[in-house]
């Protein structure tokens, strides 16, 4: 799934804005083609069959359309936003739990965010992606298992120290930027 023409994260921000501003179906098509298979893969990694995962991915993309006005690109990349929607849907459908969400985190920008903040954050995320991709396979697998739900939380507690340590500086950078963006 790598090397597609539309891999630029800032480009996806623009797509979400087109949906928000003029319900642009072409923008949705392109977002769907990129993200729906990824959401499907994410859900299937949790051990569900393809048909169910596909239904889930459709739901997630419909939510993206409905909530486009709540997306704040100075706080998260589009991939991260899609990830959080998919994660919540998975908890909802597969684990049959409610998902308590914190009070102010509505993803709702009060004003149009500063373009430099948006650009910086989107680039930061791409760099984080590259840093994760560059990890030794064993460590990357562990992180993937933790995020895709194949490990119980006590297993994660036992095992995450190592891989998190190796990408710690990258996370610190991301943290600083995110903190700055949220002030």
């Amino acid at each position: 799934m790598k090397g597609t023409k539309r891999s630029n994260a800032t480009d996806w921000v623009d797509h979400v804005r087109r949906i928000r501003d003029r319900q642009d179906q072409q923008a949705f098509r392109e977002l769907f083609e990129h993200f729906a298979p990824r959401v499907k893969g994410f859900v299937m990694r949790g051990g569900t069959d393809a048909a169910f995962a596909e239904e889930c991915a459709q739901d997630v993309m419909a939510t993206l359309w409905r909530k486009a006005h709540l997306f704040d690109p100075s706080r998260a990349s589009v991939s991260t936003w899609v990830f959080t929607i998919a994660r919540n849907r998975k908890i909802d459908l597969i684990r049959k739990q409610r998902r308590p969400e914190p009070e102010d985190l509505t993803w709702g920008p009060e004003a149009e965010p500063d373009q430099a903040d948006v650009l910086g954050l989107q680039q930061e995320t791409e760099e984080l992606g590259r840093a994760i991709a560059a990890l030794p396979e064993k460590q990357r697998n562990l992180i993937e298992k933790a995020y895709f739900g194949d490990l119980s939380h006590s297993e994660i507690a036992e095992q995450t120290g190592l891989p998190l340590g190796t990408i710690k500086s990258r996370i610190r950078l991301a943290l600083d930027r995110l903190r700055h963006a949220m002030k």
């Binding site: 298979p37 984080l128 993937e144 933790a146």
Partner: protein
């Protein structure tokens, strides 16, 4: 805000990944509602999730896009309504069905009261009311216990905890939380294994209290 005791990186990562039991998610979401520091850390862990999402992919069946397009809602989006401020953070209010005055307390002895909240079974969540100066009986832990202070303060063998502080206890900690003398203390506590009480009376009561 003078929060000194924060969530662990493990808990924030588990919350970001969506792998924690519901009761722990409730404590995390409640703390996040009061703490910008942890919220920023969470955002970074969610970015990792976003980066990982970019790597995986399974082709959709043909027609998937068309059926998605067919079900898109073309009505105007709902406006965002911020939660009204209250003593309890918003995620907790939705479990209680209101603010502090809506909590249905049950006495557990010694002036201490509790209200068990409805969550999935892998961990339990309860609100605890500890009268000023009173104590929760001395106990140890078989798993992880998270205690978030919502009102007043308490102190135990490790430190003092005020509103917004969260204590993360595990098998290694045995403690007796005592509420500050100045005010009644209300906490949100979640645990994934029964507590281990050292004295006989609480131990006998344990099955009835579901602690």
């Amino acid at each position: 805000m003078t929060i000194k005791h924060h969530l662990t990186e493990q808990l924030l990562m588990g919350y970001a990944a969506g792998t924690l039991p519901e009761a722990f998610n409730l404590v995390v979401a409640s703390h996040l509602s009061m703490c910008d520091d942890c919220r920023a850390t969470l955002a970074a862990y969610e970015e990792i999730g976003g980066a990982l999402l970019e790597e995986a992919g399974v082709a959709m069946s043909t027609g998937g896009l068309d059926s998605a397009l067919a079900r898109l809602d073309t009505r105007a989006p709902e406006p965002v309504r911020p939660a009204a401020p209250g003593a309890l953070p918003a995620p907790l209010r939705s479990y209680v069905g209101g603010d502090v005055d809506a909590i249905r307390w049950r006495s557990v002895g010694g002036g201490v009261k509790q209200a068990i909240l409805p969550t999935s079974e892998s961990a339990s969540a309860r609100l605890l009311f500890i009268p000023a100066g009173a104590a929760v009986p001395d106990h140890g832990h078989r798993g992880m216990e998270l205690t978030l202070v919502l009102q007043g303060a308490f102190a135990d063998e490790t430190d003092r905890f005020v509103r917004g502080d969260v204590e993360v206890a595990d098998q290694d900690l045995e403690h007796m939380p005592v509420a500050d003398i100045g005010a009644d203390c209300i906490c949100l506590a979640a645990t994934d294994a029964p507590l281990r009480f050292t004295s006989l009376i609480p131990r006998l009561l344990q099955p009835f209290l579901k602690i």
